[in-house]
Symmetry: C2
Subunit: 333 residues, 2 copies
């Protein structure tokens, strides 16, 4: 009468994962296929949200990074890395959903009875569900070698770090006195930790020797910071069409970004103006005039040079090429 | 400059966990101490919520169940079980926080600027943080024997099941046509899965032979269902003072419970009355009059008899005593 083993039998990761090693493009194709499938087969109540996510699944830079790091000296990638890449992207989607909790309510209020009543709750549950799927996948990845750290044991502490970064960001909403140092701490946690986790997992599933672990971790962290800095610039410089999302959204939410922090440093009249109320376009003009974008771009270049040096120390030319391409993509502003 | 290993070094589970085996009461004391500490040392923004949780930390029936199951033939409990018990209770707290998302907004609206703006967001992040701490703890529990399933690999699929149950419950809010079968499916997932997870983890950390695994899993599931059925009764029968929480809250939220489902079966006029609008006290009276409580209590007794039989098959008298006590506690209405 009671199906006692239901829980662990129903593990999401059992079916149709590849058995053999794959080339990079094949592996990424598997990641995209499986994520699409997981999102489309979500429980009906949250399927509207997950289907939307499936369409919006972007460049998958975290998954691509993980797969590139997992490439062996034969340039092939183990099936475990495909699973880890799916887990990392699902976790990213989960955090996106929970990030948007407040906006959801605003944009949907009054439109749809179910959403008025359960909009936030559905978003929370949808995020939780993806969180759990991610952990479920990560926890069952077999280690490459018996004495090697398991991916599932390494990822959770990065996830805690992401939460801490999110909490720290919310704590500093509208904090015009936020220092550059505090800002870098926040983005190291909220954004770079997941890149670092991807690089760490990729490394663990590669055939690289233990002593190069720190190189991977550092490249991952730098790439994550670069990605966030580039995103900060786009919030000011892009058009809504190009960015495929609303721009100046960080400003509107009171999220402190480096261009703004720098502008506040340079233009001592800006803080007072913002406190007295400044239109979005005026704020944008002030940040541009104070050189906030150039300054942020210079920080991107500094870190990019460092990351490139580290990448050039890796032994596989294929891997170096992939990682250089991803670094370029992360830095694109 | 860059602290590359921050993430995994900062793992929450490293310090001050006991090294030696413990007696049951000592082990439970450790669980309570450590949970209190984790909650009180949460990041400042969410500390108000976590401190509140620390005070409200109840009987810890899930942790107690896990520890009882983990008792060896020497009646002692391994340090890994303490860690697993903490993980299970943190996960429970995380789900409680996310459960309450909607109410938070209602009770706090207009009171506190920060909460008006970030009330829901803080609740989401607080839950996510506890989720991550729980996974972090669970993933680093060493297996009792090399070839034995790791606790960290077994728990995540139960957590997915809990999410599915929550989603199914929200989908059926106010669904007066919900069948008893569907109801049992929902509570098996949303409530019993975490009890089953506790029993499973306890079993894995005990010295019981693999062939008795199913006994543990079945007792866990039965105890979880019994616990939910008893809670359903309390929503109708308890006074707010006794229940230490508002009563008739399930009704108000449109959560379908067994006493109500049974009453709708027996009293065919009830559905129409509810649809036309019924005061809470009238609804309570109708459920009592239709025998909804007696019926639910009879289901509790059926399942309790079954669970008692299974418990009596276990070999350790100490463990049998503990589990019988916990079963009694779960069934208390």
């Amino acid at each position: 009468m009671i199906n006692i083993n239901k829980a662990h039998l129903r593990s999401v990761n059992e079916p149709e994962l590849p058995k053999d090693k794959l080339e990079y493009d094949q592996a990424m194709h598997q990641v995209e296929l499986k994520i699409g499938k997981l999102l489309q087969t979500a429980p009906p109540l949250i399927r509207r949200q997950t289907s939307h996510l499936a369409q919006a699944f972007g460049k998958g830079i975290r998954a691509r990074s993980l797969l590139a790091c997992a490439m062996g000296s034969d340039s092939l990638i183990s099936p475990g890395a495909v699973q880890a890449a799916i887990a990392v992207e699902l976790l990213h989607l989960a955090t996106l959903i929970h990030d948007d909790i407040i906006d959801e309510a605003d944009t949907r209020r009054g439109i749809d009875a179910l959403h008025v009543k359960f909009g936030q709750k559905i978003a929370v549950l949808c995020g939780d569900y993806l969180f759990c799927l991610a952990f479920d996948l990560a926890s069952s990845i077999p280690p490459r070698e018996v004495d090697r750290n398991k991916v599932g044991s390494v990822l959770p502490s990065y996830f805690t770090e992401i939460c801490l970064g999110e909490i720290r960001e919310v704590s500093n909403t509208g904090n015009l006195a936020l220092t550059e140092g505090e800002y870098f701490r926040i983005i190291s946690e909220k954004t770079a930790a997941l890149f670092q986790a991807s690089f760490h997992a990729g490394f663990l599933l590669s055939d690289e020797p233990p002593e190069v672990s720190d190189i991977y971790l550092t490249i991952g962290k730098e790439m994550g910071i670069i990605f966030q800095l580039a995103d900060d610039c786009l919030d000011f410089t892009s058009s809504p069409k190009k960015a495929k999302k609303p721009v100046l959204i960080d400003c509107r939410r009171g999220v402190m970004t480096l261009p703004l922090i720098h502008a506040l440093q340079i233009d001592k009249t800006l803080r007072g103006k913002i406190e007295r109320g400044l239109a979005e376009q005026e704020l944008k003009a002030a940040v541009l005039a104070a050189g906030g974008i150039e300054y942020t771009r210079s920080k991107i270049e500094e870190r990019r040079t460092k990351a490139e040096q580290l990448i050039s120390a890796l032994r596989s030319p294929d891997k170096r090429n992939r990682l250089e391409g991803l670094l370029k993509q992360a830095a694109a502003v």
